[in-house]
């Protein structure tokens, strides 16, 4: 049973007690506690149930590598699953609950899985749920989804705030231990801009726990002095609670600052995601102790040796009164010293090595501790906590020689450098036989585009596992007890029987055992990456920090090859999970995307508009009145526009000014028709194709002056077409004298449309808008109601129509003035749907409806807008290819249902027979389809094989539920074929 010690605890403040709950049970801790320390201090060894077998689990580590002790934190909107207790700082009022059990942590039905664990080996899902095929979707998947997962996510929106920040430095130091601080100081002295990030709330890493002296000082004294010195440098920034989560190309580091996890409700953002550009990243990320693979190594109370001494020294927590230490190295003896110094008992040190005669073992023997050489653990007894350890010969098969009573087992299988950051962006690691570990290969460090080194590792992360080696690398002196070499131990005992291998866990988080990896190897998995996926070794939130090396050592052994031959799995960011909130940052709610607003948007909103997205714009779709459906609103807007006058906010249309001596030549290349000959004062509809001949955009081009044109584009196409123009000007025709300016946002634009449009403008007064002064397809500048305007006589509806541009800052006032003036003529605003229907009634194509990137203007009967005189335009050559001139291409036609109904959008016209895939042959498709309130029936446009030659033919359009809609091929123009109404 664990408990709080009466003395010590370098990180806790006993003067600041804190109350918290675990599964609703009130508990007490101190400021400076991790949740893990506080739970142990309250005797809570059992902290959760394992993922697959629901085995009872306790905390095994003391830091970021913890695989077992994951809890739900908070409740309701602030509930957060799978939080590591080891890295959760205690705060007053913290609420934690254990996961993955039902009905309770102590009694869990799911633990039945454990009883049948022999039936759930590696690859169980792949083997079991194969047949019948249909069962996966309807039986297996729902059941597995129900059973899988650890915690549960909150269902309400996250009430906390999160943000991101950018930083730049010459040197980013990841890790604030001895190696990191020493490296930071050296770089600071060299005048570099340095950022030091430490994932914990405290500086110094392991050194204050592990002991020794640096430059004659105790580790903590050296750390304090170095921090003071670093703080004196203006070019250094020191950050705690900030983890360098990932390193990417070009020295781009993603770093995760837990700003206010430990001070909830204080008004600060909870997390801040740092996006850092660093010249070089120094990985001073330390090392992680490895567990030993013996039977029962997952029983609560079995912990890493380093964690046991961390809990004692850092937080004055005893993990148990009677400790057995199991090791293959000298470092674990430091745990024995810490246990003894805390007044607790070391029952024995079980050392797998044949001889343990170094300074540390001798020091323990001198204090009366039994050291059992050449021994291993055959099994751990106890269910929810350790009661006994069975000892055996390490070289044997597990025959029990002795059983020791204890309540804590501290194990150490050696250490693995944290090579993640070094590896994230391509650094290679080498196998170090002496340390039985992978360490960074400085000759194969990750490099930037110029060949410079992006990351280097220092200290324990570089394989220097002792204080003197860490100091020597940094040019410091240090002294510490010498350590004898370790002996690699991958399975304990070496000849462990199958029964023991079946209980020896490698990956606690995924319940992967020695037997599972061996099974995978027997079944032919030779790649470490495949074995990972087959067995789930090293997956999930801990990403195998404890299990990877042990697992691949066992795989190597099975394959009869060396560990370096097997290699490691890929280290991928983030180092530990980071919150979705931090990734989202400010991009939520109103700031989710940059919604673009026209000058009239407030008016539209006040009117209660129904909108549709067009790019990042929200254009009015229609303006429904109270108790009016959207469909009815659209019909009313169309009828009113065709009988009286309608007003459209057309501000979103692209407006690109093109000017220069070569502007005419340039536009003749951009458009399929001739723009250079357009007289000043006139407007012309134009088509733009890409170099493959496909229709890309359309709009009205206006000749402003002798050397300047204004090109209107679609709303969604403005930026794209401007970039397209600049691309050709800058990359291909760089010597042509043409400048462009995207003036889309300079103007608010209003279409005044309908038979009474002229009356509205005349009432506004200021300029002559008569047919004589301003004929169809011309433009003029002047004033209306005192506003400076440019008026274009263009029409997309078939009605008398003026599009009026005013400076955007006057857009709202002008819109209000036009609405007021129009009132007596029945003016109403109309939205994009009315616009679309009126276009379709006229048979005008719509980019994105009739075009989909595979349609050329000739398909749409737009030959009249393609100049035959021009030597070239973008797309001309492509349109001469055999496939493009084929008579069998789909051609635009109008479609009229025989029963007057509206064809569904996108439906196909079927032809006789089936294709090679057994699908029904088709001969065309619907591209836009509407109910026309003007014609009082459904109208549609579509692309049909040989369409224009088949006027009057009736096609079959299969719709939902077996229905077949019959529609007749007709002319696409349904309304005012002579165009008399627009030209009045």
């Amino acid at each position: 049973m664990s408990t709080r010690l009466s003395k010590g605890g370098r990180l806790i403040d006993r003067a600041r007690p804190m109350a918290f709950t675990f599964n609703g049970k009130p508990m007490r801790g101190f400021a400076g506690d991790s949740l893990a320390a506080a739970l142990l201090a309250n005797g809570q060894v059992l902290m959760g149930r394992s993922f697959k077998y629901h085995r009872p689990r306790g905390v095994v580590a003391s830091g970021a590598e913890e695989p077992n002790a994951l809890v739900n934190l908070g409740r309701n909107a602030r509930q957060e699953p799978d939080q590591r207790v080891t890295t959760t700082e205690l705060f007053d009022g913290l609420e934690a609950s254990s996961q993955n059990h039902w009905p309770s942590l102590n009694f869990d039905i799911g633990a039945l899985n454990n009883t049948f664990s022999k039936m759930l080996p590696a690859g169980f899902y792949y083997k079991t749920f194969m047949f019948p095929k249909i069962a996966w979707k309807h039986v297996f998947e729902p059941v597995i989804r129900q059973a899988a997962g650890l915690g549960t996510a909150a269902k309400e929106a996250d009430p906390d705030r999160y943000e991101q920040a950018y930083a730049y430095c010459d040197v980013l130091v990841a890790g604030g231990g001895i190696a990191g601080l020493a490296a930071a100081l050296a770089e600071a002295k060299a005048g570099k801009r340095v950022i030091v990030m430490e994932q914990n709330a405290f500086w110094g890493g392991r050194a204050p726990v592990d002991g020794g002296t640096i430059a004659g000082l105790a580790p903590q004294a050296w750390i304090d002095a170095t921090l003071v010195e670093l703080a004196g440098y203006a070019n250094v920034r020191l950050m705690t609670r900030t983890m360098v989560a990932g390193l990417h190309n070009h020295g781009y580091a993603i770093c995760y600052e837990r700003v206010a996890d430990h001070t909830p409700g204080d008004g600060r953002p909870r997390h801040r995601l740092w996006r850092v550009r660093a010249g070089v990243t120094v990985a001073a990320t330390g090392a992680i102790e490895r567990p030993l693979a013996f039977a029962g190594n997952d029983v609560p109370g079995v912990m890493l040796a380093s964690a046991v001494r961390d809990y004692i020294v850092n937080w004055a927590v005893s993990p148990g009164d009677r400790v057995v230490i199991v090791t293959n190295n000298d470092d674990a003896y430091r745990t024995a010293l810490a246990v003894l110094d805390a007044g607790l008992t070391v029952e024995a040190i079980v050392d797998a090595r044949d001889r343990a005669a170094g300074d540390l073992p001798q020091a323990l023997r001198a204090r009366g501790v039994r050291v059992l050489e050449g021994r291993g653990v055959a099994g751990v007894l106890g269910h929810k906590s350790v009661t006994h350890v069975q000892i055996c010969a390490q070289a044997g098969e597990g025959g029990v020689t002795e059983t020791l009573e204890c309540d804590c087992v501290a194990m150490s299988g050696g250490w693995s450098p944290v090579v993640h950051l070094f590896s994230h962006v391509g650094g290679k690691v080498v196998w170090d036989e002496a340390g039985a570990m992978f360490r960074p290969d400085a000759d194969k460090a990750p490099t930037g585009p110029d060949g410079s080194v992006l990351a280097r590792a220092v200290g324990a992360a570089n394989g220097h596992l002792t204080l003197d080696a860490i100091a020597a690398e940094a040019g410091l002196t240090a002294s510490v007890e010498p350590e004898a070499p370790l002996a690699p131990v991958w399975v304990m005992p070496a000849g462990a029987s199958q029964a023991l291998r079946f209980k020896a866990f490698l990956d606690y988080q995924n319940d992967v055992k020695v037997s599972d990896v061996e099974l995978a190897a027997r079944e032919g998995y030779t790649s470490v990456e495949h074995t990972k996926r087959y067995t789930t070794l090293g997956m999930a939130s801990d990403q195998g920090k404890l299990s990877n090396i042990n697992g691949l050592a066992i795989l190597s052994d099975m394959l009869g090859q060396g560990i370096p031959t097997t290699g490691t799995t890929t280290f991928r960011p983030p180092y530990t999970p980071i919150s979705f909130g931090s990734m989202t940052g400010e991009a939520r709610g109103d700031l989710f995307q940059p919604m673009r607003r026209t000058a009239m948007q407030d008016w539209h909103e006040a009117k209660g508009y129904h909108w549709e997205p067009v790019g990042f714009w929200r254009r009015p779709y229609c303006y429904p009145r109270p108790n009016e459906t959207h469909r009815d609103a659209v019909n009313r807007e169309i009828t009113n526009t065709r009988t009286n006058v309608g007003l459209l906010d057309a501000s979103t249309l692209g407006k690109i000014l093109v000017k220069g001596p070569d502007a005419g030549k340039f536009l003749d290349m951009m458009y399929t028709n001739m723009m250079s000959t357009l007289p000043v004062g006139k407007c012309r509809y134009g088509l733009m194709c890409n170099e493959n001949g496909f229709l890309s955009d359309d709009g009205v081009v206006v000749r402003l002056t002798e050397d300047s044109w204004l090109c209107h584009t679609t709303s969604g196409g403005a930026d794209r077409i401007h970039a397209h123009m600049e691309d050709w000007l800058q990359c291909e025709w760089w010597d042509w004298k043409v400048y462009t300016a995207n003036l889309t946002e300079q103007y608010a634009q209003i279409a005044v449309v309908g038979p009474k449009a002229r009356k509205v403008l005349e009432k506004l007064r200021g300029m002559d808008v008569s047919k004589e002064a301003l004929p169809f397809m011309t433009w003029a500048e002047g004033t209306l109601a005192g506003f400076p305007v440019r008026v274009y006589r263009i029409s997309f509806s078939g009605e008398l129509s003026y599009e009026i541009a005013v400076p955007a800052n006057m857009g709202a006032a002008f819109w209000a003035a036009v609405n007021a003036a129009g009132e007596e003529f029945g003016a109403m605003p109309y939205g994009t749907e009315a616009l679309h229907v009126m276009r379709a009634e006229k048979g005008f194509i719509m980019i994105g409806d009739e075009t989909d990137g595979t349609v050329i203007p000739q398909d749409l009967g737009l030959n009249w807008a393609i100049s035959k005189k021009k030597a070239d335009y973008l797309g001309k050559r492509a349109q001469e290819r055999s496939f493009m001139v084929s008579k069998d291409r789909l051609q635009l036609v109008g479609l009229e249902t025989l029963d007057g109904s509206v064809l569904p959008d996108g439906v196909y016209a079927v032809a006789d027979g089936n294709n090679v895939y057994g699908q029904r042959n088709t001969q065309g498709r619907v591209t836009s389809t509407y109910y026309s309130p003007t014609l009082k029936k459904g109208i549609a446009m579509g692309l049909v094989v040989h369409g224009p030659d088949r006027m009057g033919e009736v096609l079959d359009f299969p719709a939902d539920k077996g229905a077949v809609i019959k529609a007749r091929i007709v002319d696409p123009c349904f309304y005012d074929k002579q165009g008399e109404k627009a030209d009045v």
Binding site: E163, Y166, L591, M595, R597, P661, Q746, P807, N809, M810
Partner: protein, 183 residues
């Protein structure tokens, strides 16, 4: 003209820094050969010189920003921009240039206060610590394009397109909220 209003009509917010719509500002886009003698003459008549790359120069109620190797942006009083654009165009004569009044297509913001940099550190991928006074950076703020420069003591001026003005103020408001100080 009284009918003209900026997109946010002067709205502002004060957190640990003050962020504000700077109101209507005259802006004239100039695309030309920046080495042109005529351009130099036209600018010098207004107390201005062609700025070096990324620089903003000021003089006689104007400031002038380098936008790209063939583009400048001239800031002036809102009411003067249309005439100024016409005058400059005329002064360029038959020399190839595009000079146009763009006063309505952008919004101008100021970020003021000792911690103003921290607001923009959260939004712009930009090394603000090394940004000198009167040097313009064209970058982005979250998901939209902006340009900004240190326009005065503890003051940064930022411009973005008019249509995203409300988004921009939202970003600035959230980023300057008290409790979010970085240092």
């Amino acid at each position: 003209m009284s009918d003209a209003v900026s997109a946010l009509n002067g709205r502002s917010h004060t957190g640990f820094a003050t962020v504000a719509d700077a109101g209507m500002t005259g802006m004239v886009q100039i695309r030309a050969d920046l080495g042109s003698a005529r351009l130099a003459t036209a600018l010098s008549a207004r107390g201005l010189t062609v700025p070096a790359a990324r620089q903003v120069v000021a003089g006689q109620g104007f400031s002038l920003a380098w936008m790209s190797p063939d583009e400048l942006l001239l800031f002036c009083a809102y009411d003067r921009a249309a005439i100024l654009a016409g005058d400059l165009g005329a002064e360029m004569g038959d020399e190839h240039a595009l000079i146009v009044n763009v006063s309505d297509m952008r919004s101008v913001f100021t970020i003021t206060g000792a911690k103003g940099d921290e607001v923009l550190m959260k939004l712009c991928p930009l090394d603000l610590a090394s940004l000198p006074a009167m040097e313009m950076r064209r970058t982005r703020a979250a998901q939209t394009g902006v340009a900004l420069w240190r326009s005065g003591n503890e003051e940064i001026t930022l411009i973005c397109f008019r249509s995203v003005a409300r988004y921009m103020l939202g970003l600035l408001e959230v980023a300057s909220r008290r409790g979010g100080e970085i240092f």
